[in-house]
Amino acid sequence: MKSHVWRPLFVVLGLVAGILLFRAYYVPGTFGSGEYGFMYSYHNKENLEYWKNQPVRYRDTGKQKMHEYCGECHAEEVEVRTEDMHGIIACENCHGPALKHPDEPHMLFVDRGRDVCLRCHTQLPYTTSERKRIPGIDSNEHNPGLACVDCHNPHNPRLEDM
């Protein structure tokens, strides 16, 4: 069947072959479907490592495990802190993420700003939420300009002990 009619087809076939060749070279062999099938989990399986290898910045494990990481060195502190009302707050929420601490950053940056305290202690009239149990202030009225930690001890916030 020798006819010029097929010539464009040969060009197209050549093009397709070219693309397939390039594809074989370019696409990593680790592409495939996972447990959730082609529809939901078609991907490059190597990418999992990328996400697994992200740095862990926050090392503390919160109240649930009694500030495990921080307690390794600051055992005494942690023991005292977990007793009081602010013991439910993870150390790193105010002291900053402990990544590479104590090796590289010997001191962590401690957030002593008013805004940290105001996250919970802004007066909001929401009686149906947990907010009702937290003492709140109006930031514009309550000693504006001063840092909370000037008067209050964040580790022992009991007003009787002030």
């Binding site: 592409f31 996972g34 447990e35 959730y36 529809m39 939901y40 989990s41 078609y42 991907h43 490059n44 990418n47 999992l48 990328y50 996400w51 697994k52 290898n53 992200q54 740095p55 862990v56 910045r57 926050y58 503390d60 494990t61 919160g62 109240k63 649930q64 439910i88 707050i89 993870a90 790193e92 929420n93 993420p97 805004d115 105001l118 996250r119 919970c120 802004t122 007066q123 909001l124 009239p125 929401y126 009686t127 149906t128 939420s129 947990e130 907010r131 937290i134 930031s139």
Partner: protein, 258 residues
Amino acid sequence: MKRRDFMKSTIIAIAGASVPLSALEFIDPKEVLAANPEIHWAFLINTYTCVGCGFCVKACKTENDVPFEANVSRTWVERYVYTKDDRRYIDSPQAALYGFTESKIDLGARLGFKEIDPDNVGKAFFVPKLCNHCAAPSCTQVCPVGATYKTDDGVVLVDRSWCIGCGYCIMACPFGARYFHPVHHVADKCTFCYHRITKGLETACVNACPFGARKMCNIRDINDPITKIILNDRVGVLKDEFGTKPQAFYIGLASEVR
């Protein structure tokens, strides 16, 4: 995830785990996870205990390198305020990165802030949100190049080296969990802190929450106390009408929470 499926996997898990059950407690969580392929991560959010402090958002942005000044976030907290004359106000200023330090409601650039008379406030509550890591995620379904996917342990991730940035997944997500990363210029989303949970740690947001409003569990492990809550209590999910089968379960949802 259907209740029946839970039961089925539950029975299998009991049969399989009954012998070494006591031994498991002393094993490093890492090894448990490695030895147990039956992992499916799920999230539990209690809207009753959330106070909107936003420590979770801060922790998430820090842990996962999402710039603070970028107005997108992998997780966020919404505030719902209903007045006694039945008006509803919702906001989430800067995704609640700095919490809710104003009683005024943020109504957007056009309308500014609105002060609500404290005596007029009826019910008000906070709802933390994040990617639901759906069992049938519409976002991974629509990715044209296979750059976003569901891992075998049930987490939805994005391949930053392969994403073309078409935004189809962002459009397909009914929950607004995705956005373009301002630095990497690819789709970005909550990873359930994959680097942490695979090492036996909790996610950054769970870790940072002082009130236990956020919890995480392996929903295939029926001995996990959080799994027990999901299985035994009345929990809901967001927007189930889309059929994506969200894996973030909520205690105390209201119909206005969408």
